[in-house]
């Protein structure tokens, strides 16, 4: 669906809004820093933290899009865009569960190999 913003609405909301492409580029930058971190580091905990960074970049983008959707459609639906923020809430829930299990796995790996170097895990190949 195409969202139309007339110049009148734009002038009215100019003071209280940011162009959404700034948020897109900020989220892209954070996401790519996370990707580069996963590719360059060998410490399993740092890799895990970079994954959290990527999740947060996506969360920020979802909230920005939710507010964009709300601004465009609030005349017809006062709750437009609320789904985006609920998605972010559920992403945080899943991330918390993921971290608890992931850190348990890293702790077990450290107990067996006395290292958090992910290259020790390449014996899973054999």
């Amino acid at each position: 669906m195409k969202i139309k913003i007339t110049p009148a609405i734009r002038a009215e909301t100019k003071r209280e809004s940011m162009p959404v492409n700034y948020y897109i580029f900020l989220a892209i930058a954070l996401f790519c820093i996370g990707v580069a971190g996963v590719l360059t580091r060998r410490n399993a905990i740092i890799i895990f933290m970079c994954i959290e960074l990527m999740l947060n970049a996506v969360n920020l983008l979802l909230v920005a899009f939710s507010k964009m959707h709300h601004l465009a459609l609030k005349a017809t639906n006062p709750n437009a865009g609320i789904e985006g923020q609920l998605f972010v809430f559920f992403i945080m829930v899943v991330a918390a569960a993921e971290v608890s299990v992931g850190l348990a796995i890293i702790a077990m790996m450290y107990r067996n190999t006395h290292s958090v170097d992910v290259n020790f895990l390449n014996r899973l190949k054999h």
């Binding site: 892209i28 060998r42 947060n56 608890s100 290259n119």
Partner: protein
């Protein structure tokens, strides 16, 4: 440049700098502390977008619970810059080039996108308040909410089962 724009640029610069420091810090404890700064700046962005509930949840869940868990594990293992595994220099360069290429592709794909003239509302709008989010969550999203509680239970059991000594 008004106050909103100034805050946006300030938070963005701090977030990107801290994110880079997360990746380049040699000491894992410093990485965790930089990541906490990133989470604070992202919470600042949520407040700027008037998503107040998510800002507070982000602080409590991420900066509070998850980062404490990371710090706890790092200190339990007594990691510091001496025990940091070093990667081959060429693999590091390849990783940075890979991340930079992804950045380039995404920016090139999105810089002329149709969406660039849209505005994101800051400071006003009440969909981010806990009242509206709670009504939507417990009316339309009750099933996912309950399923996530089962997910949490299984994650807790999984963490205990994986973590216990056999």
């Amino acid at each position: 440049m008004n106050a909103t724009q100034f805050l946006f640029w300030f938070l963005s610069v701090v977030a990107i700098f801290s994110a880079i420091m997360v990746v380049v810090s040699k000491n894992p404890v410093h990485s965790v502390l930089w990541l906490i700064i990133v989470f604070f700046t992202i919470s600042g962005h949520y407040i700027l977008l008037n998503a107040q509930f998510l800002a507070i949840v982000n602080l409590i869940v991420y900066a509070g619970a998850i980062m404490v868990l990371f710090l706890f594990v790092i200190m339990l293992m007594n990691l510091n810059s001496d025990t940091e595994p070093q990667k081959n220099k060429w693999l590091k360069i390849a990783g940075v080039i890979g991340g930079g290429a992804l950045l380039l592709v995404l920016v090139a794909a999105l810089k002329d996108a149709d969406i660039k003239n849209q505005l994101a509302q800051t400071g006003t709008g009440d969909i981010g308040l806990i009242h509206n989010l709670g009504i939507a969550l417990f009316n339309d999203y009750v099933i996912p909410f309950e399923v996530s509680s089962i997910l949490f239970l299984s994650a807790m059991v999984g963490a205990v089962v994986i973590g216990k000594k056999e």
